[in-house]
């Protein structure tokens, strides 16, 4: 086999992280006997690679499964199927002690800087505890010294380490969350809407910090966000999700210059740009995102797709490679790699 082996940590051509066919359904129970009456199909067969030192952005609207995917990758929720290869292990199959050792190398930064820090712990405890648990600091004093270095690294005064989270602003709390995530010198960090709750001027400060840390510590990010401005700014590759399934996966450059999937095109056209008077066409999608409890048959986007044709309701589309590294899950690209434009209408009699 000449293909890079995702289980070989020494193979330099292997991706840092490989996700293959990840599935996570949440059961819905009803009644006295807690009978299962259905399931929320939050993530339904997701695959992508994250190369070392790169940033992959995962985008989509509420309910598309991006947060669940992030958590299932880290095994913060147990995936139902699929593989996540990381540092020579398949995470969903890893025994607890292996997983615990691997946790050091993969961390997460949460969206809400208000609820993701324990209000009863000081910053020194929040950031320092993981250092002791993972044996990176032998004594309390050693942990304390490291905490101070970390705080300065994320732009907080070291003397604040004895304060509690409520004494900080939203932006500062997010810096604490970042200090906690990088404390264990991880390779890989999931940033789940890490800058979404912040004001514009503070958001810019935190984005700069994340870019600095990435360079300095050689980090790889999985950036979960709905903000396409942020994606364009810091991602190398983008994964677009709709109702738990992949729509499109490509480089950031290709995604913004030549989006292929009708959903990606509609999403990009819906984003308001801070440039008044800019001439543009906009596709306004009809209706709401359907419920992931009963997702539409076939292609899950077909109920809102202006280019949908009968096949879309009947059959789920396969992944089609339209250009090197550019994958689209849409029937319009079955045997056709020429771009389709939802602004212009379907090329082959769709609608």
């Amino acid at each position: 086999m000449s293909a890079p082996d995702p289980l070989d940590p020494l193979d330099p051509s292997a991706p840092l992280l490989r996700v293959e066919g990840l599935v996570k359904h949440f059961p819905i129970f009803k009644g006295f006997f807690r009978r299962q009456v259905g399931s929320v199909r939050a993530v339904d067969g997701l695959s992508f690679d994250l190369a070392r030192g790169q940033t992959v952005a995962m985008v989509g609207e509420s309910g598309c499964g991006k947060t669940t995917a992030g958590r299932a990758i880290l095994r913060l929720v147990e995936p139902d199927a699929g593989h996540v290869y990381f540092r020579g292990h398949d995470l969903p199959a890893a025994p607890p002690e292996t997983l615990r050792a691997l946790r050091r190398h993969m961390q997460i930064i949460f969206q809400d800087p208000f609820s993701s820090l324990n209000p009863r712990q000081t910053i020194a405890q929040i950031v320092g505890r993981p250092l002791q648990l993972h044996g990176l600091a032998a004594t309390e004093a050693e942990a304390e010294a490291q905490v101070k270095t970390l705080m300065e690294k994320v732009g907080l005064q070291a003397s604040y380490s004895t304060r509690y989270p409520h004494e900080f602003s939203g932006g500062q709390r997010q810096r604490i969350g970042i200090a906690r995530a990088v404390a264990l010198r991880p390779d890989f960090i999931v940033c789940d809407e890490a800058v979404s709750a912040l004001d514009v001027s503070v958001q810019a400060q935190v984005l700069n910090l994340l870019l600095d840390l990435k360079e300095e510590l050689g980090l790889s990010y999985l950036f979960i966000t709905h903000d396409l401005g942020v994606v364009k700014h810091l991602a190398d590759e983008v994964v677009v999700l709709y109702l738990g399934q992949l729509c499109e996966r490509t480089t950031t450059k290709a995604l913004f210059s030549a989006p292929r999937h009708p959903y990606t095109q509609a999403l990009l056209s819906a984003v308001p740009h801070p440039e008044p008077g800019r001439a543009r066409k906009r596709v306004i999608l009809r209706g709401d995102v359907p419920s992931p409890i009963a997702p539409p048959s076939g292609c899950r986007f077909h109920t809102r797709c202006p280019l949908a044709h009968p096949r879309c309701a009947a059959e789920a589309p396969a992944e089609h490679t339209v250009a090197p590294g550019h994958v689209v899950r849409c029937h319009l690209y079955d045997g056709n790699s020429a771009p389709v434009d939802i602004l212009a209408g379907a090329p082959n009699g769709g609608r």
């Binding site: 500062q172 364009k232 440039e275």
Partner: protein, 326 residues
């Protein structure tokens, strides 16, 4: 005569910790058929300004301590509460950020819209229901005959916001105050709602005061922008002027810090520090502690400087248009 005119509005909160001067000298106007964006970061006083217009500030601790709010020539600040009730929800309506919490969960959406109509219009219940159905149809609710008897929890976020809009517009207001109406919604739904507001504005000719922190939404939907910082005026300008030739250092900093405008992967220019707590606003220009242009003169209140037609800036050191902010 403008539809709405705020003249040196001051709303303060008197708390145990001290006086919060949340809105401290805000002046701008909204014309009929015009959309005015009010932008600024958390704590800049944009929501308190909106609440002050309808006198919805909880009193105590809050109080409008100065200034005028002229609506069609009448001063809302000094209007008796009975007369004000006729204005609220009738000629001035408001939609809030959280469609999830601004509808009453124990009444059907129909009941809530019909109540507003019965309160302000001289019609019977059957006619009110017809008007409500008509509004629901107008805001694009599918199957309105069925939806009208449903409860808020049965609707999605985008649908709830449509219901809020239907309710707000059911009495054909002259002024609509929209406080972050799309912030809680997804972008494809946001596009639907903004389009809907635009279309209804064209039909009914109302003025819209749109409060938002999203400069993209501002660029695409407003005619004029008011920039607030720390409860004070920073800049007011026609929308295209603001984006091309902002002259307040704060506005310039805000525009520069947008990732949309920077080369990918570059470090974004930032405004140092953070918005101070309203208890610790500096004297004079409240932005001076974070401003690169600050001088000792800034300890005094900044003057209003005219920069062009409809473009004014409150600053001791107005800046030339920033280069590269295309």
């Amino acid at each position: 005569m403008p539809l709405l005119e705020l003249i040196d509005l001051r709303t303060h909160f008197f708390t145990d910790a001290g006086v919060l001067r949340s809105v401290d000298g805000v002046s701008f106007s909204v014309e009929a058929g015009e959309t005015v964006g009010v932008v600024g970061e958390s704590g800049c006083g944009k929501s308190v300004t909106a609440m002050s217009i309808l006198r919805l500030i909880p009193e105590p601790p809050g109080r409008i301590v100065g200034g005028e709010i002229r609506f069609l020539g009448q001063d809302l600040v000094r209007m008796p509460i009975a007369a004000l009730r006729k204005v609220r929800g009738n000629s001035i309506s408001m939609i809030f950020q959280e469609p999830m919490t601004s509808l009453n969960p124990v009444y059907t959406v129909g009941d809530q819209i019909i109540e507003a109509i019965l309160l302000h219009q001289d019609v019977d219940e059957d006619r009110a229901r017809e008007i409500a159905l008509d509004m629901l149809r107008k805001v694009g609710i599918p199957a309105p005959e069925q939806r009208i008897d449903e409860y808020p929890h049965q609707l999605s976020g985008g649908m709830k916001q449509r219901v809020m809009i239907a309710m707000a517009l059911s009495c054909q207001p002259k002024l609509l105050i929209a406080d972050e109406p799309t912030t809680a919604l997804d972008v494809t739904i946001q596009a639907q709602i903004l389009e809907l507001l635009k279309q209804l504005q064209a039909e009914q000719g109302m003025g819209i005061m749109l409060i938002t922190h999203d400069l993209g939404v501002v660029a695409e939907t407003t005619d004029k922008v008011v920039v607030l910082y720390g409860g004070q005026m920073a800049e007011v300008a026609p929308t295209s002027t603001l984006f091309s030739s902002a002259s307040h250092p704060y506005t310039q900093g805000l525009l520069r810090s947008l990732p949309d405008r920077a080369p990918p992967g570059s470090r974004l220019p930032t405004i140092p520090g953070m918005v101070p707590s309203p208890l610790q606003f500096p004297t004079g220009c409240r932005f001076r502690t974070r401003c690169g242009q600050a001088s000792p003169a800034c300890a005094a209140l900044p003057p209003r400087v005219e920069r062009g037609p409809g473009h004014a800036v409150w600053c001791h050191h107005p800046q030339p248009p920033a280069g590269g902010a295309a």
